[in-house]
Structure formats: C-alpha cells, structure tokens
Symmetry: C2
Subunit: 505 residues, 2 copies
C-alpha cells in the first residue's frame, strides 16, 4: 500500500460514509453478516470489546446494588398482550416459535416443523413481561423491595434493514429491571442508571453523550418516561447509545406486582428498566475510527499495545524476540484504568508493512517496533494510533511513561470527539434556518449531515410534520443547562425547554 497516496480504508469517510463503516468493521475483523437473515457473527476482536464493556458496566451495576440473574428466552404470546402499548411496540418485529420438533416431509425429502405448540412463544425482544410475571410472585411485602436485577442476554427484534452492530435481528445486551415501593425511588433509579451509562460512555469509551428525556412519541412502549444518552457520530448523525425507563405502575398493574406496606395497605409497585447493547460497538467505531481503520480507547482495548519484532534473518530472531518478551513482561506489571496492561507480540511470518497495517486497522492504541538497531541503543520505535505520532524512545522512558501515554490517548479521543460535536452543534431559532441546516448542501456527500440543532420547541405534535419532511428527529430534551424558557423555533410560542434535533441512526 502506498501510504502517501492512500488510506488503509477504502472508501474514506468523505467518499462514502456507510461503506467506510462496513470496511472498518471488515478490516478490523470485528464482525460479519451470517447466513441467517439479519443476524451477525461477532468475531473475537469485536467480542473482546463487548467483554470489556460488560466488565466495566457490570462492576458499575454491582457497585450500585444490582445483582445478575437469568430469565427465559421465550415469552408466551399472551404475556406480551397484557400491556397494550408494549405489545403495540413489539408485535410487528417478533420471532415466533410455533413448533417443537422437525419431522421428515411426507415425500422423504428434507424436514418440516412438527409438534405445534398450544400457545406460540415469542423470542424475547425485551423482558419486561416475563420478568414482571416472576416479580409478581416474588413481591408480597415492602420487605421484598426493592428488587434490583440485571440480565445479560440476547434478544431478537425482526428488522427488515440491518447494519452490523447498529441494527441486527439478534443482538446482545443487558437489561436491568427494578421494582420499588415508591414513585420517587423508581424515578431516582431511572436517573441513576442513566448517569451510569453516561459515565461509562464518557470515561471508558471516550464517547461524549447528551443526557436527556425522550418526548412522548419516542418513549419506550409502556413507559411513563424514557431518558437516553445520545452521541454524535462522525457523519454528524445522532446515535442513541442507552436508555433508562421509568415505567410508573403500568407494568405493575398489567401484571399485578403489588405489595403490602408497613401499615398493611396493598399497593402496586413502581418499576424501571434500562439497557445498552452491542450497538455501543457501532457507536465506538463511528466516534473514533478514521480513514486508516479502527481506533480503540485504551480503557476498553482488548490489547493496550502490540510489539512487532523486526529482524532480517533467523540469526537475529532469538535476540529480538527475547528483548520483546522482556518488554512485554515489564509492561504487564503496570496497571492502567484498573486493568493490568495487556500486550501482544506479533511474531507471525508476514511482511513488516502488512503486519503494521493489520494492527493499525484493528485500532491497537500503541504500536511498538523492535529491531537489532533499536536494541543496540536500548530504545524502541513507538507509534500512537490516535494521532499517528511516532518516534524512537529509550526503553526506560517507554516503561515509565506507558500509562501516561495511554491516559493521554484516552483523553485525546474524548476531547477530539467532544470538539467535533461542539463544532457541529448549533442553536436555531427559526424555521428557515432549521430547514437550511437540515437540507443537504453537498450532493457529493449526502451521508455527511449538518449536525445537532438545539432548539426551543413548544410541542412535539406541532413540529412533527416538519421533522417528517426533513427526516429529522427529536433526540432528547437535555437534562443539563436547560432551565431557561424561550421561544419555539417553529410556532413562536413560549417553550419551556430546548431539545436536540438531528438525523439519527
């Protein structure tokens, strides 16, 4: 590859953003489509990202008093029907199990479903109804509350148009489901978990997010309130990265989750649910990757650094490899972000350039190259994936600075993404500007959009026709810096809050 003329990924973001996204995933070996419609295969490098996200989130869930459990994959069709809005929201995209065995076709060729079920089962699209059925049994008294349980699981929502990590028929996620004696406690839980998600996204994934409340039209089916974190991708579209739902007493009433309080009165409980999914990997890619491929923040990187031994012939191999192994061992005594450093040595028999670009495209934060000349001066060649900066540095300096360099990469990625979002966010106060902002200007790059608009709006119903026309959505109503009333950009009426408007995934 000619480094000067080309990028490692073709096309670039500017040339064809959606295709660039697919190519980053392919070149980093993160995932691929499977022969099963809409279902993806998450490959080892991508799955380790998910494992690292799980580890970080799981610790935060446990630190806030939650426990893990596991509930059935299947939901009886009648359970889904209990909450009217809920079934409305999910009935159109359910995988339905109707039979429990296969038998040979009468003509002897191939198989057909047999053993019809009395009641069809739905593969869970989310588990409020099956978990609620258990909670109704478990909750009798105020002493049984709160229940704070999380589940790591796969879910299925039948999607017609799928895209790796962003929208797939099956995806992996966690879903928290809690039950509380009071409304206030459930509302507090809802916000607490949103804070957990925001902190995780910003501190671990280096993805800046806006915390806010969804409008009524964008709420989770059956919720009284949905709050979300929204991130800006590099095409300036928004991606909803996590949601937390205050379900009021809706599910408790539909499923009779009720308890006797200290005075002997029986009331319905208050519930919440909250989730993030493998979609976060899509957010990670579209926040940090560049035209040379994946860029992974050190705190969730499967490997913090890769060491490439460089030698011309076998006679040099032993010495170089020994030096690399010692370096790896010394680096792996260090801790960054609560994790012992993980260092790879890539001694495969490949051309140096091919090997280098392999790790660039995979997004390893630090690349170290060691050859006989480096060893002679007890130095190494080091390159940062985020900035491309590279230099020869003394081995001792690498060892003393390694965790600082990782911290600097982590911080740089966050600041770079934040700057990008701020540069592409504007305040809009009238319809003409709004229309202009969301009308594509560059016909050659129709997939690079304008960005976020923060606008006062008086009512979701009144702005909806314009949003439909422009294919723009209200992402959320930010929770922070949003207390001053103003004037609706469209109607001129007084409006209590600003919302973030954007095109979205």
């Amino acid at each position: 590859m000619n480094k000067k003329a080309k990028t490692a990924i073709t096309p670039t973001r500017q040339e064809d953003y959606p295709e660039w996204y697919q190519q980053v995933i392919k070149n980093a070996d993160l995932a691929e489509n499977s022969p099963v419609r809409g279902c993806m295969v998450i490959k080892p490098w991508g799955y380790t990202l998910w494992e690292n996200m799980q580890r970080g989130l799981d610790k935060m869930f446990k630190d806030t008093g939650h426990q893990n459990a596991y509930f059935p994959l299947f939901i009886p069709m009648s359970f889904l029907e209990k909450e009217a809005e809920h079934v409305e929201g999910f009935a159109k995209e359910c995988a339905v199990v109707t039979h429990h065995r296969l038998e040979p076709n009468p003509d002897g060729t191939g198989l057909r479903p047999a053993g019809p079920l009395e009641e069809p089962l739905i593969v869970r699209p989310t588990s409020e109804t099956i978990i609620g059925a258990m909670y109704a049994k478990w909750v009798q008294s105020y002493r049984d509350l709160p229940i704070k349980i999380n589940q790591w699981a796969n879910v299925v929502r039948w999607e017609m148009r799928t895209r790796l990590f962003l929208r797939t028929a099956e995806f992996l996620w966690q879903e928290g489901h809690t039950v509380h004696a009071t409304e206030q406690e459930a509302v507090d839980e809802t916000y607490q978990m949103l804070d957990v998600y925001a902190q995780f996204a910003e501190e671990q994934m280096a993805v800046p997010v806006i915390k806010g409340e969804k409008t009524a039209g964008e709420r989770f089916p059956g919720a009284d309130m949905t709050v979300s974190i929204e991130a800006m991708m590099q095409d300036r579209k928004a991606l909803q990265a996590g949601t937390s739902h205050f379900l009021g007493q809706n599910f408790a009433k539909a499923q009779d989750i009720s308890f006797q309080d200290q005075d002997g009165n029986v009331s319905h409980a208050w519930t919440t649910s909250w989730g993030v999914s493998t979609r976060l990997i899509g957010a990670l890619i579209m926040t940090h990757a560049d035209d040379d491929g994946m860029v992974i923040p050190p705190r969730i990187a499967p490997a913090h650094a890769v060491i490439l031994p460089i030698y011309r012939d076998v006679s040099q191999r032993a010495e170089v490899l020994e030096y690399c192994k010692n370096l790896k061992a010394e680096l792996e005594t260090q801790v960054y972000g609560g994790r012992v450093l993980e260092i790879e040595i890539d001694d495969r028999d490949l051309r140096g350039g091919e090997k280098k670009w392999h790790h660039v495209k995979r997004g390893v934060p630090i690349r170290i190259e060691v050859g006989p000349k480096d060893i002679a001066k007890d130095a190494v060649f080091m390159a940062r994936r985020d900035t491309g900066e590279h230099s020869s540095i003394p081995r001792a300096e690498l060892l003393s600075e390694a965790t600082n360099i990782l911290a600097s990469i982590q911080d740089n990625l966050f600041q770079r993404a934040l700057k990008m979002r701020e540069e592409n966010t504007t305040e809009i106060t009238n319809e003409a500007d709004f229309r202009a902002y969301f009308t594509p200007k560059d016909v050659k790059n129709p997939e690079i959009h304008a960005g976020f608009a923060r606008c006062y709006f008086s009512s979701e119903e009144e702005v909806q026709p314009l949003l439909n026309e422009l294919k723009v959505t209200i992402r959320n109503i930010p929770l922070e810096n949003n207390d001053e009333p103003g004037t609706c950009f469209l109607t001129g009426k007084t409006a209590a809050k600003k919302a973030v408007f954007a095109k979205a995934y």
Copy 2:
C-alpha cells in the same frame, strides 16, 4: 426450628431424594420454574455460582489459546440437515421459528403469528452447523489454522420432562469449536479440553470425576469420538458433567471446511467441539448439599463468609456493626484461590435463628457471629458449613487462619465426595452380581441406588439388552488405569477395557 429433631430441609435425602433436591434449590434461592414450559429462572444466588464457574473456565480456555466470539441464535433448517447423524440427534427436540411478527386475530381478540418465514429457523440446540458455515468461509489456507473459538450462549432442546439445572428446555452453556489441519492435533485438543473440564470440576467445584470415552451408542450425533467426565451424585447415580467431541472430518465434509496445505494440496480440516452447561450447578448441589441445604465449595462461592451482628438493642448496634465492618475490611485484604475474599454482613432485622438458617441453607462456607460479649474478649463465634464445627476463636486467629480454613473446607468437600464415590464403586465380574447390584434393595428408598460398577465388557451391542432391562447405562470407558485386558462380565469373552456402569441422570 428444633435443631436436634429436624433438619433444615424436608424431606431428607434418605426420605425422598428427588424432592430433597428441589427443596435445596428452593431454600437456597438458586432457581425456580418459570411460566414458560421447561424454562427456568436462575435467581441471583444461583446465577453468581454460574458467573464464578464462567470466570474459572474462561480463564482456563484463554490460557489454552482460545478466544471468545458470538454466533447467531438461529440456524436455518437446511443447515441442520447437512450432517445426517446430527439432524437425527436433534430434530426431535427443536424449537422452530416459523413467523416474524404477530397480528390481531380477525375477530379482534388477541394475536396470532403472521409473516411466515420462507425457511423455518431452529433455535440452536448446539452450534456446529452454523459455526461450521462460517468456518468454511474463514478457512482457505493452512495459515488460517488452527481456529480455536469458544462461545458462551443459551441453547434450547425441547425436553418433555424437565428438572431444574439438570434438564431444562433452555440452558446456558459454553461451546468450544475448533478446526485443525491434522487429525492428531484435533484429537489432542479433544483430550486437552477434557482435562480442562476435569481439572475445573475437581479443583474449583470439588467434584471428583472420571474421565473416559463414550461408547459408540452414547456419542454426540456426528462425532467420531466423545469423551466425558462423569461424577457420582449422593443418590449414587452418575451425572455427565462435561463432554468433548472429536468430530473427525464429518462436519468439515458436510460443510466443506477445507484448506490448502503448504504443498498446495487441498484437504478437509479436522474439527472438535466441547461444552459444559448450567447442569454443573446440579452436579454441585447433588455432590455437596446435605439435609440442611446447600454447601458451596469456597473457590466458587459467591461469598466466602457471612458475618452476623448480634445485639439485643439499638444501643449495642453501632459498636457491634463497627466491629463487623472492620473485620470484613480486614478479611477482604486476603486472597484465596486467586480471588480476594468476599464477605457479606447480614444486618437485616430478623430473628437470629432465622438469619443463621438462611445462610446455612444458602451454603455460605463460613458463618461468623459477633455480639458484645465476643467483642469484649476480642473473639468471634465461627462455624464451618461443611462439618458444622463451631467455636469461639480470637479475632486475630480468624484473620491469620481464614484462608487456611477455606482451603480446609475446599479439600474436605473434595475428599468427602471422593470417599463417597469409592465406597459406592465396585468391580463386577458376572451377570448375577451385576443384576443384584443394580436391583433396588430398599423399597423405602427406591431413589438411592447402588453406585458405580467397573466391569469388563466385550461389546456394547451384547450388553445393551441387559442394560435396558435394568435401566443402567455405560457411563464411559475410563482413560486411566484401564490398560489390562480381562473377561467380559456378561459374555465371558476377552475384553480390552473396563467401563463404568451406573444409573444416570
């Protein structure tokens, strides 16, 4: 509860073993049946056991060079048909997805499946066929081999008679799937993973196991060789706790997983698969639990010890609780079995007896009680769950001895289980003894069986009628201490190996 007269679990193992098993699970709050036929809910205390098993196994998989990935939940029906024995083995117990949405019934009441799929999808009962389809794409050259991937996932096998943890329609497991260039390498992998399972069962779960090869009739559908670990439960039945399969070239041929070697020749690869499941929790319960409930080996216990603050009135509470918290903090600086000690304090407002028995029934390895009198002499009351031994010991001694006590509990549980197995294993050399051994003697306890019989046998076909009659199975042909030929207990013919015969779960 009257300790002298009763046990915490009713009935006892002797009185009604199957019901005792259900009651241990219920009283330890490990799991329960769900409203979905055959599917269980794994509750937090039970799920933490699974998490600890996952952590231990996952490390061993990674230390032996495996990576995790994730493959689709669904398998197209046609994929299952490719390997003849495989489909024969699983077609009778498949959950079949035939529709992708729900629509209202024509009369407006309730829902019905809609959107029929062109090809039905099977919820994976195991993933050889879907993973093999990906491997066929990924493997081109010898440079692509070996592939050593593991998946943590849920699977579904429609079972008519289910029992918590032992046999459920949905269960959680891991499935390793590897591809190799040579037969020898695949065979070595098969045995290596059996060793991993055996080591995990014995060292972490304190469950002694017999490693051996399955007879042809008991092999995994489509395998050339299946090896298993078998454990003896306290009713002296065998439980298959893990299996590792050498699949030969069967799946590689069915799915065309082939590669070009260094000389340019193309051949089919050699594959393996291996798995353990939440069934291991059933093995754990039936190996260690007693008539007072669950007993958990320290190395996989969710908590190593529980501290119960004992006080009569609120005036004593602060001092006692402070003492307990300090004790917890000091214990949690210690490490046992590679894990920092996890100590619970149970300060709930419950009667002391109720609280004590709660933790006995949950199986926490060490129970510590602290009251004002203990504090006065800087001592604590300590009880071991495994032996029931209890005494007052100086605080300093508890701190210095804690990890030794845990090691002693772990070892005692293993030795106790091993002794139980050895006392209930016999060598049998003729049919009359075999019949007598496997004919229930105690009509009051039909569920307590004789145990294991190690017998020479000349052929599976020849012994099968007798086994069917007695409801006995060949568990496996032990790999160790089994090189001397002998005489078949049934036919009198020369036999190369002994097998373990037993009634089984």
